[in-house]
């Protein structure tokens, strides 16, 4: 018996397979070159950059602080919140930004614990999202408070009124949990940043040198310093995960511990967390696209493989979110409680019905139809669009949970619609604040953790198995 077999050339085999050097970890460059690339990215400011910074500053001053100041001076009547909808867009924004802030911890801490190597170049960008998202989110309870000058009443201190804050109130839990998370995430950004600001110190002059010298605290990279830093980063990575879970669980309990139909649900904690990570990871994909598009040399560090990995995470969290949402909906619907069923009906038949459909389209249809495709996941601008749509969907979810559900309460004679007014302007202001902080940070601190990238590249190598080279990783720790 004879067989006609055409031998396949080595080149043909490799054509069909991906080049291993497209992975950042397998495409090392000298540390000096990577340092220079990151420093150049920080030092390059174009005219467009300053225009964007100027516009964002203007929006922050006018839309956030100006509108907030106007509301303080005039009274809460300029906002759309009124009976029965006393929680409106301010609280929806609060939940949204706290959700966004979960991305940093997820990407940096959980992926660090599980040693997911693709995280290395973008951990800092994700961690910055946590801190800036928290900064934007933490303003909303104060904005919502109205009489913001009384905010200090929540802090426990002996006072003339002989009153301490009620620690049984979820609002007290919020204060303590968010403070804990804000402090932890800020320190968690700072610790791995120290070696990189020391690198920047060694390459800077003038005010930048003074700034980096102060931030680097005298870092040299001795064995003792590395031991202490690595141990602390590991402790943080493990400690911050339960803190992250607790924060959004507590935010969910702001709703779930009430008797309001639609809110009183035991699944709200994990449901909120799944949604937070879903929107946060999608926002990371958006930020990575912007970093690649606006900063020089970033195409070397942020590659298609990173969008691919984030796309898979987005798809997984879309499944998780949908599972929780269906679970919550199913139990409410099957339970047959009249008030709960009325809320479910309001999802589709109230003036905000279109928001419910928008939420399902953005959070389920878009990721499920597109993200299974590797080519889509590896196309940065498409990932930006998908990330944007998912965040629109997640904002819609928060809007449905807060004003829509509260406006359809147990008393039909107290039902009412909610239309945001000054809330819209303040929302634009807080989004601008988030973007402005990011724009400023991109020129002040190294957005790429160079030492972590180099550490990963040292650990990776190609090993030949038969006729094929495969990536291998050594355990350096």
């Amino acid at each position: 018996m004879t067989a006609d077999a055409t031998p396949i050339s080595q080149a043909q085999i490799y054509d069909e397979e991906e080049d291993p050097r497209q992975h950042l970890m397998l495409d090392p460059r000298p540390r000096e070159e990577m340092n220079s690339m990151v420093m150049e990215a920080m030092h390059t400011t174009t005219r467009e950059y300053w225009i964007v910074v100027g516009v964002l500053t203007f929006l922050v001053v006018v839309c956030l602080f100006g509108a907030w100041g106007y509301m303080i001076a005039t009274g809460m009547g300029v906002a759309g919140i009124r009976r029965p909808t006393m929680w409106g867009m301010f609280i929806a924004n609060f939940v949204f930004w706290i959700g966004i802030s979960h991305a940093g911890t997820f990407v940096s801490a959980i992926l660090r614990v599980f040693k997911a190597e693709f995280r290395r170049p973008f951990t800092r960008a994700a961690e910055l999202m946590t801190t800036f998202g928290l900064a934007a989110g933490a303003m909303y309870p104060l904005i919502h408070l109205g009489r913001v000058w009384t905010a200090y009443w929540m802090v426990p201190y002996p006072n003339q009124r002989q009153l301490w804050p009620n620690l049984r109130s979820p609002l007290s839990w919020d204060l303590i949990a968010i403070t804990t998370y804000l402090l932890s995430s800020t320190i968690y950004i700072y610790l791995p940043l120290i070696p990189d600001v020391a690198m920047a110190r060694d390459r800077s002059t003038g005010w930048r040198y003074k700034f980096y010298r102060l931030l680097a605290l005298g870092w040299r990279g001795t064995e003792t310093e590395w031991h202490n830093l690595r141990t602390a980063i590991n402790i943080f990575a493990f400690a911050i995960i339960p803190v992250m879970f607790s924060v959004h669980t507590i935010v969910s309990w702001d709703f779930a511990v009430t008797q309001t139909p639609g809110w009183h649900s035991t699944i709200y904690g994990p449901f909120f967390i799944a949604g937070a990570i879903f929107s946060g990871v999608s926002a990371v994909a958006m930020i990575l696209f912007l970093i690649r598009a606006t900063l020089v040399n970033m195409k070397y560090f942020v590659r298609e493989e990173h969008f691919d990995a984030l796309g898979k995470l987005m798809l997984i969290f879309s499944f998780t979110w949908a599972y929780f949402y269906f679970n919550e909906y199913m139990v409410e619907w099957y339970g047959g409680d009249l008030a709960a069923k009325t809320v479910l009906k309001a999802f589709t038949q109230s003036p905000y019905g279109w928001i419910w459909y928008l939420m399902l389209f953005c959070n389920i249809a878009v990721p499920w139809l597109l993200l299974w495709n590797k080519r889509v996941r590896r196309t940065p601008w498409l990932m930006f669009v998908i990330g944007f749509l998912i965040n629109v969907g997640m904002y819609a979810e928060r809007f449905i949970i807060v004003p829509t559900e509260i406006s359809t309460n147990r008393f039909p004679f107290m039902w009412g619609d909610y239309f945001p007014r000054i809330e819209l302007v303040i929302s634009i202001g807080s989004l601008s604040l988030f973007l402005l902080l990011f724009a400023v940070a991109s020129r002040l601190i190294p957005l790429i953790p160079v030492w972590e990238v180099q550490e990963g590249q040292l650990a990776h190598s190609l090993k030949r198995f038969g006729k094929h080279e495969v990536a291998t990783k050594s355990e350096l720790e």
Binding site: P30, R31, E32, N35, P156, Q162, L163, W164, N166, L167, R168, S172, W173, I176, A177, T179, T180, L183, S184, I187, L191, P195, A198, M199, R201, D202, R203, R213, L214, A216, L217, G218, W219, R220, G221, T222, E223, T224, E225, W226, H227, N228, L229, R230, T231, A232, I235, F236, A239, I240, P242, V243, S246, I250, W451, Q454, E455, L458, L476, E477
Partner: protein, 175 residues
Amino acid sequence: MAEEGRIHLALFKDVYPATMALDKLRELGIPDKDMTVVSGVPYSDRILGRPKYMTRVPRYSIVGFVGGFILSLLLNLGTPYLYPIHVGGQPLYSIPPTILLTFELSMLGLIIFTFLGVLFESDFPSLGPKIYHPEISNGKVAVVFDCPPEIHTRVHESLAALGAEWVHRTEAKQL
């Protein structure tokens, strides 16, 4: 390390010659405690062939956790004791919120003290003059050691033979 003026710094391109240099220094009679490796990326003790270093940072974390735990108990149990608010039918001390806030404050204590641990144990912030070479953050590996004057020529020759790009007696400079 001993007094300034006896401190030398040898700069290597890679970690391997640096580890060879450590062996050489030991061979020449310099004890482990009188040398250290300064690098731009972390290397484990095993890679460097150095005695295992035990950091005390976790102890700070434990102290912080316990401190936060105690503070939380004081806050949760002390508040209703000092300022009782009786709400019809409800107990004065509420266990679930106590658990919640105890967790948060314990973690807050742990996190703050871990950070303080890094600062104290690494002697940060210390902005004064230090022995350093800017090439370290470019990926070079430095071996800093305390060298008795009588052997320093021999040490320099040995380290240069191992591939040291730069080896000199060095003084602390402003970073």
